[in-house]
Amino acid sequence: MQLDTLLRVAKWEMTKNAGGVDKRTIVVMALSLVAMGAVAAIAVSGGAGAGMDDGIYRIGVDESSPYYGVAADDSTFDIREPDPAAIERRQQELLYRGTQLQSVPRTAKERAALTELRDSTAQYNDRTLARDDNQTAAFPVSVTLVYEQQSGSSQLDPRSGDGSDGSGPSAGGSDASDGSGSSTGGSGDGSDTGGTGGSAASGGGDGGTAGGSGANLGAIGARLTGDVQGGTPSDISPPFPFESLVLAFLYIVPMNFVIQAYGSSMLSERLNRRGELLLVTPVSRGDIIGGKTLPYLAGAVGVAALITAALRFGNIAPAGSYVAVLAVVPLVVLFLSATFCGAMFARSFKELTFVTVTITVTLTSYAFVPAIFTDVTPIALISPLTLVVLDLTGQSVGLSSFVFSTVPPLLTGLVLFGLGAGLYREEDMFTQRPIPLKVLDALAGGINSRRSALKMSIVLLPLVIVAELAAIAFLFVLDSVSLNVFGTNQSLGIVLVLGVIVVIEELAKSLHVYAGYEHARYERTLRSALGVGALSGLGFFIGEKGLLIARLSDLESLPIGEAALQGATLPAGLPLWVAGLLFMLPLALHTVTAAISSVGASRGRRAYVAALTVAIVIHFAYNFTVVSTLV
């Protein structure tokens, strides 16, 4: 790779695109962006005030009832004349006379309506009582919330030292971020690729209720510390960095636009063999790909820097710094690399659209979901977005956290670029094959000899790590759901994590072997199959052992993390021979299961699927036993 040629390609990628978008488009685009801003502004000012849940419950109540005021203040309710017949006809959900509920809530809707009314009433009381002359009687309880370490705790979060007092945006800051919260919620609603709409919409919904329950909730509640006086019970809010999350979402949204443009550009190189001519120039493949990617990479990172600067100098998140921008880089790389692979696999723009949507949804969840738990558990560090949240809320980010959080996605991005680049050649670029076959092509691209099986298992490891970590984060919630499986008292979350991890690992070990057989890179003999499988297993084992980096995260302190990483770390205090056995056992396991699926792979697709299933079952049984006996 040569920097100057790479830059030359990058320069032309930019000017070519500037030529592709004519002035009219730019004008329309600018107008739409202005319109978007206007919409956001309306949403923030509450001018339109139309909530998503407006008028879904109908309550029969007249002005004499105290609930009239409650329902009138909550747009979720549609106030009707009290009419018992309407209840019968299911045209009203609740019927109040005075303070008495006259109807019996039977249907799910009626029950939900009553629950909603209960919440509204509590909020209504807080609001009316705030105007009461006797504030002591109105708010007879004051609360001081103190976060304290339970001594003997091993779950030291790297940032916990300054956790209780070192954070919390200023009151002004969080008010402002409340505002931007609802604005991004609003714009996310119809979001670009549909995928992000889901999370944004739900986020927006939450924003609404949070805003309704008290204007300064964020300010006092988020970190009510010892020296804050006069908080009421309703002011308490769980350690949940809602504002920062919404802000973090801001960083993800532009990426989806960037990858759309990037994917288009990459795929149009493949349409009509356009890219062929670049391949005959002295510019190397790496330079072409790098050069075509660089503008988008720089653009996305630039936008992240702009957002950070705007948040910082707009006093919304004054703590935002270069750390947030740096943390976004691996995410950008991941988004772009996945899109690059997608553009190399897709046969048409239509397929690319689907691929892009999938990438958007998958990676947004990967980045976003763990970040929800930023202040709750170290698992959150799986996503680099957590670093952004930490940075925006002014918490310091340790080097080890930074490395743990950013290296796996960065490596995954590079692996994906590598896989895609394997297809960036005359033979594969212009052929129209279904996506699954293209995936196999990409994998087979790196296979030359039997030893390649070892290499491929190691190369794919970052992908495995990221997928597994994401699975842990996703199933984290379920961890609290206890489920007694086979009397072993493992939680459902752990069982699921084991299952998912086993599937990911076995696939990673065997898919490239299958690709190798399909491309006739290996001999279809039993001996060769066993050899290739064993090498693949060995490669995986070596890679896994080299990844004790996972320790940095304190993941082992959680039962679920321990389950996931078992085999990678050793319980202390075991006799040496047990430790040795435990060390060698995973090697045997990986080799055996990989050999099984390799034998299957050598005999065609059906046999491969069957053998893979067997391998997964064996692996799962092994892991489950180890976790049950040792954990």
């Binding site: 040629t5 030359r8 390609v9 320069k11 032309w12 000017t15 070519k16 030529g19 592709g20 349409l271 009509n272 063999r273 356009r274 062929e276 001519l277 670049l278 391949l279 005959v280 120039t281 002295p282 510019v283 190397s284 050649r425 005359e426 033979e427 491309h519 006739a520």
Partner: protein, 300 residues
């Protein structure tokens, strides 16, 4: 200048090109001829370094085809030249000049010079709005932007109207005179005869014949003699007041003369007709189906 040694290309189980060897001298115009699917394009792409041979190797000017140095000396024109529709000819050529690291001033002069020779107007119009012939001219100009020594042209005249085809062929001829080494492929033999020094004929991934035009002629062509007589002889047809008999050997000509004289007539004219490359090609293709025959050729 170009040296292909037993280059072979397989896609999956399909053999696109069976081990082919040939060499092209500096300044030579070399044609690869064959029907569609004969493996011409694959062969050219292997020469251009776009495809990696499954086995065998190719060198251009002593450089392996995979190297950047080789590509720097190469001008490649694919069969269909997809261009970046949103660019203008000028910006497109500047883009490639930049990729070949050509000095901007030199590139500017060179591109206008070439476009002048190609008589291309509307140099600031978008490529997407241009006719096929105009696009082809831009593509040809692109293949020359780095002033390459070797040109590899895949079907340079395909899909163009006769006028432009002529134009392109003449231009190619001109390039050859300027000392460029040119390898090109064609399934249309119409113009090959006029500009090729040597050709190979490919069929089903294999080189089935090779040589310069005379050699091929001698091997696969037939020389026919049209013997015109004043009287009827067996197998003759009446033509313009005389009788014409077509024979394939001098002995037969002699025999015809004897017969005519025996009938009291005489031979008034003998014309020789050499078979065209087209016929040679057809013959070879026929031979190919009967079993391959090779014309031995000593390389260099």
């Amino acid at each position: 200048m170009i040296d292909a040694r037993d280059i072979r290309k397989e896609y999956g189980g399909f053999v696109a090109v069976q081990g082919s060897s040939f060499s092209v001298d500096r300044g030579e115009v070399f044609g690869i001829i064959g029907p569609n699917g004969a493996g011409k394009t694959t062969t050219l792409k292997m020469l251009a370094g776009l495809l990696e041979p499954t086995s065998g190797s190719a060198e251009i000017a002593g450089l392996d085809t995979e190297t950047a140095e080789m590509r720097q000396q190469l001008g490649f024109l694919p069969e269909e030249s997809p261009l970046y529709e949103e660019m203008t000819p000028i910006s497109y050529l500047k883009f490639f000049a930049d990729l070949y690291d050509v000095d901007p001033d030199v590139a500017e002069e060179r591109m206008h010079d070439t476009l002048d020779k190609l008589e291309l107007e509307h140099r600031d119009r978008k490529l997407g709005d241009m006719s096929k012939g105009m696009k082809r001219k831009v593509a040809i100009a692109r293949s020359l932007i780095n002033d390459p020594d070797v040109l590899i042209y895949d079907e340079p005249a395909s899909g163009l109207d006769p006028l432009t085809t002529n134009y392109v062929i003449e231009f190619t001829e001109q390039l050859a005179k300027e000392g460029k080494t040119i390898v090109f492929s064609a399934h249309n033999l119409f113009h090959v005869e006029s500009i090729c020094d040597r050709v190979v004929i490919m069929n089903e991934g294999e080189i089935v014949a090779r040589g310069d035009l005379e050699e091929l002629q001698a091997e696969y062509g037939h020389t026919r003699y049209h013997v015109y007589t004043t009287v009827d002889v067996p197998d003759a047809v009446q033509e313009n007041g005389s009788y014409k008999r077509v024979v394939e050997s001098m002995d037969a000509v002699e025999e015809t003369r004897e017969r005519a004289e025996a009938n009291g007539g005489d031979v008034v004219d003998i014309r020789t007709e050499e078979s065209s490359l087209e016929e040679v090609f057809l013959n070879v293709a026929e031979a190919g189906t009967r079993g391959t025959r090779y014309v031995e050729e000593d390389t260099e």
